[in-house]
Symmetry: C2
Subunit: 209 residues, 2 copies
């Protein structure tokens, strides 16, 4: 196996942390998003969508999309369980994992990519070719505030996002929160439940990825 | 069980078609998105995110998000299999199911919601509170064109989106394509592979949902 990766990007980080939590050692190949290497023919031959991460299997098959990579690795290496021990827990974890992706990571991405010059001609991840729209910087900010508020509400009621134990939902939650922090949109200082949770998940060795 | 549903909306349709393919009979309760009933306290008590569909279990637990509902029902009713018979097929199906959601349904939604007056104060599904941005009408159109092109390319090589049989990827693909058609963005007439696939999946009794 080989993981196509971008060290500085939040989506590949979801896969890296998942792999670390599973105790797996999968070689990585760096593909620079900033340089646009993900849209060059060599990488498009691996993943026509131009997105990272992608997992290449030994037989040449390629699995795209962080959640698909997680689910594939969970099937091969069931322990420690990160995607749910029964159908209801799995649904809970996936719902929060998706929420953190669509309302967290994508919202931060909307703020960041519409602001950051190198992405002027590619405001969305991968090969969509859409241009930036300045109004989306503000909208991204507003959506991130919504995300932080929902996170705080959930974590005031639940130790972890998926329930009472660490799961894939926390991985994507952490990646979204840290991505926000990295581009100037940290969670509000008063969000104590989020602060408690963030300290706990950041202290796990996997978070160093 | 009870499915909170909106007859005219594409996301709940994913769940309805999935349920029909499984041969299940689950009572539905209509929640009007146009009237904004999904953002009223009664429904927010069911799903704080205000999104449809949601599946309420007999014990009161609620499963949100179409893909989570699909996965839950697949675990309870494994046949006919719609989400993959092995980890690699499951990854392939989920990747295309996600692609149709994020690049198809969300792109059409971007075009439609930023144009359609009743959504002026809620340009995204659920309880995000973001206002419309006129430039997103054009961007949505551009993204839908990208989606249609990717679909055509895939379906020229593969009978169905997930591989050689009908799966959940085709359900979300159909919902995305029909949503586009319904708001004035049909797939291009020359897209013969898409036309062949669309006729086949539309002929299934489940598509009447």
């Amino acid at each position: 196996m080989k993981l196509y990766d971008t060290q500085m990007a939040p989506n590949p980080r979801r896969a890296r942390i998942f792999i670390a939590e599973k105790g797996l050692d999968i070689p990585r190949q760096e593909v620079s998003i900033i340089e646009g290497d993900n849209l060059k023919p060599e990488y498009l031959a691996v993943n026509p969508w131009g997105t990272l991460p992608a997992l290449e299997l030994d037989d040449g098959n390629v699995i795209t999309e962080a959640p698909c990579i997680m689910r594939y690795l969970e099937a091969l290496h069931p322990e420690p369980n990160l995607l749910g021990r029964d159908p209801l827990e799995a649904a809970r974890i996936e719902a929060w994992e998706r929420f953190c992706e669509m309302n967290g990571m994508q919202a931060v991405g909307e703020f960041f990519r519409n602001k950051f010059e190198p992405f002027a001609e590619r405001a969305m991840p991968g090969y969509s070719g859409v241009k930036t729209i300045p109004a989306l910087v503000e909208r991204g900010k507003q959506r991130v505030a919504f995300f932080h508020a929902q996170l705080e509400k959930r974590l005031a009621e639940s130790e972890y996002l998926g329930g009472d134990r660490f799961t894939a939902a926390d991985i994507t939650g952490l990646c979204a929160v840290d991505f926000g922090k990295g581009v100037g949109l940290p969670f509000p200082e008063g969000n104590q439940a989020t602060a408690r949770w963030h300290a706990a998940v950041s202290a796990r060795p996997s978070a160093a990825n």
